[in-house]
């Protein structure tokens, strides 16, 4: 199986530790990822808000480039994943849209025939590598670590069938394979506010407060995420949530790849653990 890696813009900036930990973990797990050559932004939710056709063309360029390279397109960012997926869906369901996107891509010397399968990194690691193979490589058992598994929205919704859209289990089984404990976390797939953090911060902070309270009330010592925007909101804005709601959250938020990497014995620096705003070093000292 050939995998084409589509990091997405966030993994070059706010989510740089997701990129580092993904590359490090894939190396150890034997997942060979080839970068998508000269990828562009997927368009994200914001471009779709302004002009859906242009947004589909942005996404379509990536799908066409990936089709040329040949292989499954793997996105670690849930927003990229959903947008690329949605583009495939629209091109399949709406012939007129397919014709227009085709015309635009042709002007740039590209063509897309609908052959690029879009997958989320978490799904690839869980299904293609599998829990047994991961567990067999564990060097530092995460015994005693209580983890809130946060899926966010777009990893499990709208229609991708990777896990249950409201009460998914896969990251929980992953945590257990690493030796840790997945705590009860009823809001595991509720919204973090997404991009509204930039424009309607007060609304997003309210949603973040609910998530952080649900996780900490259930005894979580750490939260894992599978999306750079979820991570940014929960990590970088946690202080603001504390100030707004008079709370004292101090919950480190890791990418699920960082947690796997720790258990596999990868150096924390190589996993980008030093880049957290809410530091995880003290908590995880026992495991490194």
């Amino acid at each position: 199986m050939k995998y084409i890696y589509y990091p997405g813009c966030s993994l070059e900036s706010t989510g740089i530790s997701y990129d580092r930990s993904t590359r490090a973990v894939c190396r150890v797990l034997g997942l060979e990822m080839e970068d998508l050559e000269d990828w562009n932004c997927c368009g994200s939710t914001a471009y779709f808000a302004i002009d859906e056709l242009l947004s589909l063309c942005f996404s379509g360029r990536n799908l066409a480039l990936a089709e040329g390279q040949g292989g499954d397109l793997v996105a670690p960012c849930s927003a990229c994943y959903t947008v690329l997926h949605k583009t495939n869906r629209y091109l399949k369901d709406y012939p007129d849209v397919r014709a227009k996107v085709g015309t635009a891509l042709a002007a740039g010397g590209l063509s897309y025939h609908g052959g690029t399968k879009v997958r989320h990194l978490a799904e690839v690691i869980l299904n293609d590598v599998g829990l047994e193979a991961i567990a067999s490589r564990v060097q530092r058992n995460l015994h005693g670590l209580k983890v809130a598994t946060y899926y966010g929205c777009q990893l499990v919704r709208p229609d991708v069938g990777f896990d249950h859209p409201e009460f998914p289990q896969s990251l929980g089984t992953l945590v257990e394979a690493l030796g840790g404990e997945a705590v009860k976390f009823p809001l595991m797939s509720r919204c973090c506010g997404g991009g509204l953090i930039m424009s309607e911060e007060q609304i997003a902070l309210g949603l973040l407060n609910k998530l952080l309270r649900s996780a900490t009330d259930n005894g979580a010592q750490v939260m894992i995420a599978a999306c750079p925007l979820c991570h940014l909101n929960l990590d970088a804005y946690q202080g603001k949530v504390n100030r707004k709601f008079g709370a004292q959250y101090n919950l480190p938020v890791l990418y699920f790849t960082q947690l796997i990497g720790l258990a596999l014995g990868i150096d924390p620096q190589a996993l980008g653990l030093d880049k957290n705003i809410i530091p995880a070093t003290e908590l995880l000292a026992a495991y490194v």
Binding site: C9, I50, A236
Partner: protein, 208 residues
């Protein structure tokens, strides 16, 4: 009361409402417009059960709840729908979409409404999610990839530069942790992307 009169207009049915309370517009015109756009056809399926509203994390912030919004589309209330804040508070969490018993892809519909509101210049002044989306698009068209620092600069210039101040601690935190690059990453074949964008712009949008 504005909300009472909207309820009343929904009761009275399609084609009777205009923003200024004046003469009825073409009946079902807005409904036809929405349903003709990919992603908008779901309005026909709705049974007004309110599952979408009950599921939406931001329904309480909206001028009109998701359920009400579909009723208003069917009632031809173009101006009220497109000038409302409802779709701009949709965070694309897709909970309504997976829960809808009729299979309405509501998140897709929200994008249809955002596009219509922006393109027909109906969105209200001071709409921050729209300003953010426009700033995002400006940066993408220029670099092909997101650059947060440029995007935020454009956004705060466009809205209110003073509101950027409370964000400074977060920006500094990200900067000192190597998570906020000062310079943009550009794609190599920007010419190709721009040719595609220009061509797409000639094609008149997603609707038929």
């Amino acid at each position: 009361m504005a909300s009472a009169s909207i309820e009343e207009k929904i009761e009275r049915g399609a084609g009777l409402a205009t923003a200024d309370g004046g003469e009825p517009k073409a009946e079902y015109g807005f409904l036809e417009e929405v349903r003709s756009i990919p992603g908008g056809e779901g309005v026909d399926l709705c049974i007004q059960c309110g599952t979408c509203t009950g599921s939406c994390p931001n329904a309480n912030e909206m001028d009109h709840t998701p359920r009400e919004l579909i009723a208003m589309i069917r009632a031809g209330m173009r101006d009220q729908v497109l000038s409302s804040n409802s779709m701009w508070y949709c965070a694309s969490c897709y909970l309504c979409t997976v829960r809808c018993p009729r299979g309405v892809k509501y998140t897709d519909l929200m994008y249809v409404l955002k596009n219509l509101a922006w393109q027909s210049k109906m969105a209200k002044r001071g709409n921050r999610p729209l300003a953010m989306a426009r700033s995002f698009v400006d940066v993408l068209n220029r670099f092909g990839r997101v650059h947060e620092a440029t995007m935020l600069g454009v956004y705060y210039f466009r809205t209110n530069p003073l509101t950027a101040l409370p964000l400074a601690p977060i920006g500094i935190g990200l900067l000192t942790h190597g998570r906020l690059p000062l310079f943009p990453h550009r794609i190599k074949n920007q010419a190709q992307l721009q040719t595609i964008v220009r061509k797409a712009q000639e094609l008149g949008g997603i609707s038929q």
